[in-house]
Each structure stands twice: as structure tokens, then as C-alpha cells.
């Protein structure tokens, strides 16, 4: 290939450990005993459940529908019965619970009726809505709803389509194995993307440590009816990061805070392309994905796993748990996060389950002070000055962190990886980011409260003025009526009497009103109600006193 490649700054070369899980083909994970489908599997608003507990669902049936613009649907991974819609340990660094739909499989694995989409004869926006309802989201890690990225936007065109087969994180091989075994299907998905984005060129970026995947993709590309360039890129973490891959392949930089489409590039993970192919050409929603199970296990392997499979059931496929297992990580060793419970279900973002042991992943030595050696700055692929960001984040000087472009940090972990003082730099940045987000949220809430409060003040003032005006009008009218005997007087008096009577009635009713739901209550409840009533009467009396004073 003669394509000119570009270099991004920084990057590190961690030990790859990829061979561990590439020696076995992708295994099909058996149906688990239970499936827990999280409603928050994508970036944006969680899906809204549309089934009820006890309901029978079919494989591929939508059980949570997209809510809001940035959202996609979730589906039943197999047929069975909904047994719970409740909080369940989530695949999230917090270890908190989140709303999940639990399904007890019936074992029949019966599909809902589904069929391929005739995408070439569909209205583009209808097609995108279909993809949203089929739950397609980016499988590279960010899980951004794909239908949004597949909108070519105002320019009607995204010239360069990049399939990301970089997979730069150590240990993870799910994309590698997918490309080796299902290259043609990946490119079938790319064909749909190319059609939707009106792209001129299709590039597949693969790091040079995956020769088998490169060969498979090249073979598939030669069978394609549109040009596909399989580009070998140097192995350098985080070369598979979308921004870094775009830089390597095109020399372009995604503007800060912008999207890659701003520079005419759309990037999709190869797994997303595969899922899109299943969705468009078979009508299947996203209910399974390839997950690497590796690390401290007997038989590391990639599995095609139903989304919702509990961690423990998946890990069991690689053999019995080793005694020295010290924890589970979702994702790779550079960017993954600890899973606190083995009940955590697989989600669309789960590319890897890394089983830890203290021997494989020893805890870091105690941190020393930063000596400003700038190794982190040399390793940073975003060209940041991590030592300065650390300094400000540690001092909770969040304004300064933003001035030094904290939000351009992609949390790749290179800085922590090289730090000779073993400072958990990335954790400081994550901390600073979430504090800033929380503060922004608070600020928005405060602004809303201020607005509503000011509106209320205005309303009260207006009501007062209206009342005053009405009173003034009445007073002047009365004055005018006072002298001559007006014919309206009698009518007026009658009206007044009627109002008075109504008021009396209302008062009586108010005092006499008895809630109907207190019959058949146990005596203690009645006692409690009586007490409340007494308190209420007392407060009323007090209020009256206050008014009279």
C-alpha cells in the first residue's frame, strides 16, 4: 500500500498479550440461565421499558424503546419471561445499580418475526429510525447511537468512511477475531454505511500486529463491488482511538469539541459494521456481540455472547475460576474499569472481560511526588501537558484544568502508564471532569430556579396589580352608585347575597368535609388521623390569630 500515513504524537507500547485469546476461534456462548438487559447501554438517555413483569417476550423483541434523541432501543436476547424490571448491579465503574429488565429464557430461543431492510428504497430518515429501533450503537467503547452518526448532515456527504480495526488495547482481541472470521459481513455493513453517508472512499485501519485480520480483510475487500482500502497502521497505543486513527490515516485532526464528520470523516468500529450488516441484511437487532474473556483464566477465548449474560456465566466458559483471581475488569487494562459484582450483565460496550490476578496486574507502588519529568507529556496522544492538569486537578482548581484543555483528554491512560512517580493521573482527570460536569448541572439547575423564581415574583406582582385595579374599579363604581337609587341596586344586592350564601356553603363544606377513605381503618390509624386533625386545627387557629393580629 502506498498510502501516506501520518503520525500522532505520544503513545506507548505496552505488552500486548493478544496471543492468549487468538489461538481459539470465536465460541458461541450457550444460553445463560438468566439474562439481565440494562436499559442504559448507550450514551444518552436510557431506554424506556415497554414490557411488563410476567410478559412473554420473543428473541429480538423490543423491550425498551429509545427515549429522546440520543438513545437507542434494547431487545430481548432470547425468548422467555420478563421476571423483573428493577435496579441491578450495572456494568459501570460506580458499581451502583441501574434499571434492568431480567428475562428468564424459555430455552426455545424463538425469534420474533423479522426481515431484511430494503435500505436502498427507503427514506433515509426512516432507515435511521429503523436502525435506532434495532438498537445499533457503536461497539468500540463509546456506544454512541449509530443512526445519528449515519446522518450525513447538511453537506449530504461524508467523503471518508473509516472502519476502525485498530484494537490497540492489550489483551483485547474481539475485533481481531471478528475480522479474521467474518470479514465479508463487516464489509457488507460498510456497504450500508457507505450508501448512507455517500462516501467516496472506504478505509479499514488495522494495526500491524494483526496480520491474519489484515489478510482476511484484504481478501474480503477484493470481493467487494466498491473500493475498500485496507491500511496497515503501526502498532502504537492508542492508535486505535478514533481521533488517533483519523490522524494516522488522513493527517486530519478532529476539532476539539467537534465530531469527526467536521473534517469529512466518519469512523465506525468493525463490530458496529458487523452489527449493522445483521440489522439491515437480516433484520436482527443488536442482541449479541463478541467478547474477549482473557487474563487469569484457563482457556482465554472470544465468545459471541448474548447481551445481558451475567459475568459469572461468561467467565465460567473459560474453565473454573482460578484461586488467585483478584477481580474482573470490563475493557482492557488501559481504559477498562473494575466490576464489583460477578452478577454484572454484558452490555453493548463490553468488548473484553479481563480477569485479574495480583501476579498479572500487581497493584501500583505508592505514589511519589510529581517531579515534572514530562514523560506524561511526551506520551500524551492529545498533546496535553498532563503534569499541569494533575497539578490543577489535585488542587481542585477546575477552571485552570479547563484552560489547559482537560476535556481534550481521552483518558487513554498513557500518562499514568509512564509516570515514574506512579501517580494515578487519569483518575485525577476523571475526578476533575465529573466534578465539572456536576457543577455545570448545578449551575443549570440554579439558573432554572432563578428564572422560575423571577417569573413567580412577576406573576405575583401582576396579580396584585390586577387585584388592586379591580378593587379600584369596584370602589369607583360603588361611589357612582351610592347617590342615586339605581335599578341595578336590587340586582346587586341579590347577587351579593348569593355570593355570601355560596361562601357559607363552601365554608361549611370545607369544615365538614370528611375523607371517605378512613372507614375500615384500624384504630391506631384513626388515632393518628385524629392527631393530625388536631394539629391541623391548631395550625389553622394560629394562622387566624396571625392574620387578626
Amino acid at each position: 500500500m502506498t498510502r501516506q500515513l501520518y503520525e500522532f504524537n505520544g503513545g506507548v507500547h505496552p505488552e500486548e498479550h493478544k496471543h492468549a485469546s487468538t489461538s481459539r476461534p470465536i465460541g458461541i456462548a450457550p444460553l445463560p440461565r438468566i439474562l439481565i438487559v440494562s436499559l442504559r447501554q448507550h450514551i444518552g438517555q436510557p431506554a424506556k421499558p415497554i414490557v411488563a413483569v410476567g410478559e412473554q417476550v420473543l428473541k429480538g423483541q423490543m423491550i425498551g424503546q429509545a427515549e429522546g434523541y440520543v438513545s437507542v432501543a434494547v431487545h430481548a436476547p432470547t425468548s422467555g419471561t420478563v421476571t423483573a424490571i428493577a435496579g441491578h448491579a450495572a456494568a459501570h465503574p460506580s458499581g451502583l445499580t441501574d434499571l434492568c429488565i431480567t428475562i428468564a429464557p424459555d430455552g426455545a430461543d424463538r425469534w420474533i418475526e423479522h426481515s431484511a431492510l430494503d435500505y436502498r428504497n427507503m427514506d433515509p430518515s426512516h432507515l435511521r429510525n429503523q436502525l435506532r429501533d434495532l438498537g445499533i450503537a457503536g461497539l468500540g467503547g463509546a456506544v454512541f447511537p449509530s443512526f445519528i452518526k449515519l446522518n450525513p448532515g447538511a453537506t449530504q456527504k461524508v467523503p471518508t468512511l473509516v472502519l476502525n480495526g485498530g484494537e490497540c488495547e492489550p489483551w483485547i482481541t474481539c475485533d481481531d477475531m471478528l475480522m479474521r472470521e467474518r470479514a465479508a459481513e463487516i464489509l457488507a455493513g460498510a456497504a450500508v454505511m457507505r450508501y448512507m453517508l455517500h462516501s467516496d472512499e472506504v478505509l479499514v485501519g488495522i494495526e500491524d500486529n494483526k496480520p491474519e485480520a489484515i489478510a482476511a480483510m484484504q481478501a474480503a475487500a477484493s470481493q467487494c463491488d466498491f473500493p475498500v482500502e485496507v491500511v496497515t497502521v503501526p502498532t502504537l497505543y492508542p492508535g486505535g482511538g478514533a481521533k488517533q486513527l483519523i490522524k494516522t490515516l488522513t493527517g486530519k485532526e478532529v476539532p476539539s469539541g467537534g465530531r469527526s464528520t467536521d473534517v469529512g470523516v466518519a469512523t465506525f468500529n468493525v463490530g458496529t459494521a458487523y452489527a449493522l450488516h445483521r440489522a439491515v441484511n437480516h433484520g436482527e437487532p443488536l442482541i449479541s456481540r463478541i467478547v474477549t474473556v482473557t487474563g487469569n483464566v484457563h482457556r482465554p477465548q472470544n465468545f459471541e455472547v448474548l447481551i445481558g449474560t451475567p459475568l459469572a456465566e461468561l467467565v465460567r466458559l473459560t474453565g473454573a475460576t482460578r484461586d488467585d483471581t483478584s477481580g474482573y475488569v470490563m475493557g482492557g487494562p488501559m481504559m477498562g474499569f473494575d466490576l464489583i459484582s460477578t452478577d454484572v450483565p454484558m452490555v453493548k460496550a463490553t468488548n473484553c472481560i479481563l480477569v485479574k490476578s495480583l501476579a498479572l496486574f500487581p497493584p501500583p507502588p505508592p505514589a511519589m511526588p510529581c517531579i515534572r519529568c514530562t514523560r506524561c507529556a511526551q506520551a500524551c496522544p492529545a498533546d496535553l501537558q498532563p503534569q499541569e492538569l494533575y497539578w490543577f486537578a489535585r488542587a481542585k482548581n477546575f477552571g485552570k484544568t479547563q484552560e489547559y484543555h482537560l476535556f481534550d483528554c481521552i483518558e487513554c491512560g498513557c500518562c499514568s502508564y509512564v509516570c515514574p512517580s506512579h501517580i494515578p493521573l487519569v483518575q485525577y482527570y476523571r475526578y476533575a471532569k465529573s466534578e465539572i460536569w456536576a457543577k455545570e448541572k448545578d449551575k443549570k439547575a440554579a439558573d432554572l430556579a432563578r428564572e422560575r423564581h423571577e417569573f413567580r415574583q412577576l406573576r405575583i406582582e401582576r396579580e396584585q396589580q390586577e387585584r388592586a385595579a379591580k378593587l379600584a374599579l369596584k370602589a369607583s363604581a360603588k361611589l357612582a352608585e351610592a347617590s342615586p337609587e339605581s335599578p341595578d341596586d336590587a340586582a346587586n344586592a341579590a347577587k351579593k347575597a348569593a355570593i355570601q350564601a355560596a361562601l357559607e356553603r363552601a365554608k361549611e363544606k370545607k369544615e365538614g368535609v370528611t375523607p371517605r377513605n378512613i372507614e375500615n381503618l384500624p384504630p391506631e390509624k384513626l388515632q393518628e388521623i385524629a392527631e393530625i386533625e388536631a394539629r391541623r386545627a391548631k395550625i389553622r387557629a394560629m394562622a387566624k390569630d396571625a392574620v387578626e393580629k
Binding site: P93, P366, P424, H453, I532, R536
Partner: protein, 175 residues
Amino acid sequence: MSGLAVFLGAALGFAAVRFKVQEDPIVEQIDAILPQTQCGQCGFPGCKPYATAIANGDAEINQCPPGGEDGIHKLAELLGVEFKPLNAEHGEPKPKSVAVIDETTCIGCTLCIQACPVDAILGAAKQMHTIIAQECTGCELCIAPCPVDCISMVPIAEDVATWKWKYPVVKLKVA
């Protein structure tokens, strides 16, 4: 010399008219720091009046419990004055909460609706009321007027969406 004086005077006069500051921006700046809970714990009927009072020197900067120490620090920095710890007379900072109406007890008296400074309670006379949780500032002003004590403050629980990464605990240990 006198010509220069006249010219400078004219220039100053012009500048005063040309660059007139519309509103006292300091009140706005103080108000921007205050949490807009509108709870009145500071002794003023809302955040804006408190901001005005601070600007006029009629109030201390440490009378806002919801703003917490953080808020006092920001006010101190803005106004160039010394930090003061929160005045306990005005209350203690509490975890952020929202009001919740026990809808089985509510009698629909509308008293809480009248008390709510941000119109975050929905309901009409003799109909059950409910609180718009997103808009509730947690000011607690609705609790006292309720004749049946059906409103309680519920601290906002941390969930996956609001969870925050913790400040790294880094200890220097003997290796």
C-alpha cells in the same frame, strides 16, 4: 493648562455618559454564585435580595447554608474579603434533597403551592399535589405550611448518571 483641564473634564464627562454601566453588576455577580434555592435561610426573601444586601454591605457572606463553604469562598474571592465560616444561626448545610408529597395524605389545600418559590408544585384546590422533582430546589419552604405534614425531604440518591469519580486517595507508604 486650563485648556487641557477643560479637555480632560470634557473627556471624562463624555466617558461617563458613553460608558455608563447600566446596572450594578456586582449584585448580578453575587446572585450568580448563590445557589438559587430561594430558601430564605439567609434572612432575606430570596437569593436576589440577599445578593443585593451583600452588595450594600447589609449582610455577611456566610449566611447561605445551601451554598456551603464553597459558595462562601467564591463570594469572598469575588468581593475581596476574608473567608468566614458558615454562620450556624442560618442553618447547617444538608445533602441536596427534594421534597416529596405523600400523595395519600395530601388534602389538596394548595398552601404548599403558594409557598413554593419556584412553582415546582403542581396541583389545584382539593386535588392531590405533586412535586416536579427536577425543578425542586430543596428549600423546605413547603414543609411548614402543610397542615397534614405530608411533605418530606428526601436526599437525592446517587445513581449511575449522577455518580462522580472520587478524589484519588494517594498515600505515601513505606515501600
